[in-house]
Symmetry: C2
Subunit: 109 residues, 2 copies
DNA sequence: TTAGTTCATTGCAATATTACGATTAATATG
DNA sequence: CATATTAATCGTAATATTGCAATGAACTAA
């Protein structure tokens, strides 16, 4: 075990969980906040800003990139990372629908 | 290692990550969706609905309860679970602010 | 070419998570 | 009381995640 039984759940449930897992680590939250805040989104800046080792940051960036939430552009020896706007918006739609469900009036307990 | 370096991040960043982690498993997504959808939120129903073993569901419920997102009420031999409305709303505020950041106009890459 | 810079990848150790069988605790019912 | 029902807890195995040192790959500059 230690293995999620994905097949028991709907595609939407798995998708929500995947997005949420991406935000489930403070380093990835910090990376995304930094990408939103600044235009200078060079990878090396993130390493200094966040204070984890370069391979660690690189790994977190890879996960966010794999989900399509960010993109990286090679510029000489450095790499510029940014939010992938279109996918971020799609993700927002999915997460908002999940988070913003109406709570049933009749309290059951 | 295998250990998040919480001290490197702000309280808000850690809070966002904790909430997100709660949604980072499809079983917990399914549990919450079910609690929203129905008033009959007996633990045993969730076990049947979701199709994981009872101790597994119980463990997921414990995590959601620990975060304050749900509450459980003992009713005889069974336990009735519901969304903890007030905390859910607070969580929504935090998550919405994170997800709904403005993307800087000037595309950097 | 050689050295320097920047970032990705590899490999590994430590810890966390997931899942469930077995058991326990609490309450109900005959 | 004895038994059944329901859900929590314990213990454990399997897998996943986190973090980093070491290394590699790609480019720049001298």
């Amino acid at each position: 075990m230690g293995l999620v039984k994905t097949e028991k759940f709907s595609d939407l449930q798995n998708e929500i969980a995947l997005f949420a897992k991406a935000f489930g680590h403070p380093a990835r939250v910090a990376i995304l906040q930094h990408l939103f805040k600044t235009d200078a989104c060079i990878c090396g800046d993130l390493v200094h800003e966040i204070g984890l080792a370069q391979p660690t940051i690189s790994q977190h960036l890879k996960e966010l990139k794999h989900l399509g939430l960010i993109k990286g552009n090679v510029e000489g020896t450095s790499v510029c990372y940014c939010i992938e706007t279109k996918n971020w918006t799609k993700m927002k739609t999915v997460m908002f629908q999940f988070l913003d469900q109406d709570i049933s009036e009749e309290a059951c307990c």
